[in-house]
Subunit: 399 residues, 2 copies
């Protein structure tokens, strides 16, 4: 593919949805040179579900692909095969090769909604690490100082608190750095939270006599709770292959304060148009909810198609704005004639825990056939066909 060095395109790629670039001048020069650049993008093989938080980096990668550059996906399978029995990751058992392969297949099929997988180079880092003897790692270790590796704020904090940091964790950044050496990366794209690892990687390349990669860091997407980075463990995430209605509803739950980030990072809407939208809202010409629906419509149609997205929007309007029941309400089998309201909500999966269920109940968020139920001690006598509504948009039917 021809390299596109259109200054406007380059400028957009390097400015929209970018937290920091090291080193920007150098990267611009490279992009103008007409040379095809190799863009490293690290993939974690432990999490098969990709969510919109991952999409931010993948979308940036796609923009480089569109300019003709080479996406190089690096699957960190080698370290995952070993696992880390110590410290904070005690609960995460090492994955076997089959699990990793499955996760990767899922990842790639989901990522193909964003990037052009066929044009990408995909490597597992076991390719270069698996065949190496123990002395390879020792040689690698001899090139780095302890001080450089433990200066990271997260390590320092844990060391000071007396929380265990396993020696293996200290080896990981060296391996991640070597990945860039092995795949001869010109740029690396990733989240801003990886900043120290990325900078460390530049030093590693220098020690191996390579040019230092440039780094393009994307901002961290805030999840639908409006406060924390979107992540699976927090539970504030939207899956990339989520069903259309649910995805739309989830996007509508994003607080207004975050809406503009979602526009910038997850849609292709031109910056100018986003600015116009903002102005319309400021001037009360548009309701923020309607702007958010435009955002949700655009994002859902990217992943589920225009028609599904349009249907999801209509369903959302019908249920939340006109107070009608959704067209398709899931059934929940209680198995008992009487059930405590908290147990029911947990069983139905609308609350992750009894304490979350209790919060929903006391906040008047739960209705049985339209009637608010705010006594969390209540034992409900259930009848088949009764409708439970939780908040504005979640419904289930008793069976």
């Amino acid at each position: 593919m021809e390299i596109n060095a259109n200054p406007q395109k380059i400028k957009e790629t390097l400015e929209r949805g970018v937290e920091e670039i090291v080193d920007k001048n150098h990267l611009e020069k490279q992009m103008n040179s007409g040379k095809q650049l190799r863009i490293k993008f690290g993939i974690d093989p432990t999490a098969p579900d990709i969510h919109l938080g991952h999409a931010v980096g993948l979308r940036k990668l796609r923009q480089f692909q569109d300019l003709g550059h080479k996406a190089v996906l690096i699957v960190g399978d080698f370290t995952t095969l070993i696992g880390d029995p110590s410290g904070r990751t005690t609960s995460r058992p090492p994955l076997n090769e089959a699990q990793i392969r499955d996760n990767m297949k899922d990842y790639i099929s989901q990522a193909s909604k964003v990037i052009d997988v066929k044009k990408a180079e995909i490597h597992c880092n076991s390719e270069w690490f698996k065949k190496e003897p123990m002395s390879f790692l020792m040689d690698l270790a001899s090139r780095f100082t302890v001080a450089r590796l433990i200066e990271r704020e997260d390590f320092q904090k844990r060391l000071k608190e007396g929380t265990d940091v396993s020696m293996l964790e200290l080896l990981y950044p060296m391996l991640q750095a070597y990945d860039s050496v092995a795949c001869r990366a010109d740029i690396e794209i990733g989240g801003y939270d990886q900043r120290l690892n990325f900078l460390f990687t530049r030093r590693a390349q220098k020690k191996f006599g390579q040019d230092e990669q440039d780094i393009l860091m994307v901002p961290l997407l805030i999840g639908i709770d409006g406060s924390k980075k979107m992540s699976k463990s927090v539970g504030n995430y939207i899956r990339l292959d989520e069903e259309g209605n649910k995805m739309f509803t989830q996007l509508m739950a994003v607080p207004d304060s975050q809406m503009w980030n979602y526009f910038e990072l997850l849609t292709d809407r031109p910056k100018k148009e986003i600015e116009n939208l903002k102005e319309e809202i400021l001037e009360n010409k548009k309701h923020p909810r309607d702007a958010k629906m435009e955002m949700a419509l655009e994002i859902v149609s990217m992943y589920r198609g225009a028609e599904a997205s349009q249907n999801a929007k209509e369903e959302f309007v019908r249920v939340t704005q006109r107070g009608e029941l959704p067209s398709d309400i899931p059934s929940v089998e209680t198995g008992e004639k009487e059930i405590n309201i908290l147990d029911l909500l947990v069983k139905a999966g609308v609350a992750a825990s009894k304490s979350e269920a209790k919060r929903l109940v006391v906040q008047n968020g739960v209705r049985l056939d339209g009637e608010v139920k705010n006594d969390w001690k209540e034992t409900l006598k259930t009848k088949k066909g009764q409708i439970v509504q939780v908040g504005k948009s979640r419904f289930f039917k008793l069976n």
Copy 2:
């Protein structure tokens, strides 16, 4: 071989020349059990010259051999093959396998003066490390915390000072610890300066489900300068295969304050007799110099034989006490008719540097044919056959 569980022998072995034992009760029980114990003894393959400082630990090992236990010598060749280009050891290039083999041959032949090499098991740690893939080291690393590895005072000091500690150095203690796992050590013998590594090793064995080794730490022998630990790098050492006269003279240079340590750690003289000697000196019945000669006579005869030791003693007396010339004076070829006195001393090898030579001269320590030469600027007109005396016991002849 039958295990000797003579309580008196065991008591002597565990008390004479011992700095600390962990855990002493357990070790005693083991030694009384009649079981043959495996005693790990680490050997550094970088230094072919063994000196009396090394002999202290080797002699302790020999005592265990005499009780019927199994000496297991571990040559740390694996790490030495890799070397450590960083930090303080910059100047020490990695050794190749041939060099290590040669060093080991030298080491074993010298050590055979102290231990029964034929009955010892000798392993290079490359036996178990060389075949391992990189993931082995990662698995090992996952068992240890960073805090445990950097808590060592020497590391802490260097980290605080901003002196580089290479990541490889942090891996070494794990490897040394694994050696004990691989060779199934019941006890480890070594110098007290290795205390933290030894304790760390106990933890490692536990993590691998093995019983913790006991540790017998011997004191560090002070060198002939009377102040620093005997070591090659300080230059205050006496080689185990030193020629008899020189060894005797070097032992006589040991300060009186250190004489009793040499008796205890390097001779077989019973403790009772050493106490008697001390008393005789206190009561002025014996000159300390004569006690020291007994010490030197005994040590030299261990390594050079009784006859050579006796001759060395006589030579020493003749030269230093009766002021006679030694029977065998080395010649030095000056190659010039005139030479500055400092240059001459450096050339003859009696001073390591001009500044050391200058000190000898101004302290009236240098004579030419019996006449004190204390002007360091003097240019000597040399004649063949002239005798230069430096201090009490060093002589050379001009040629």
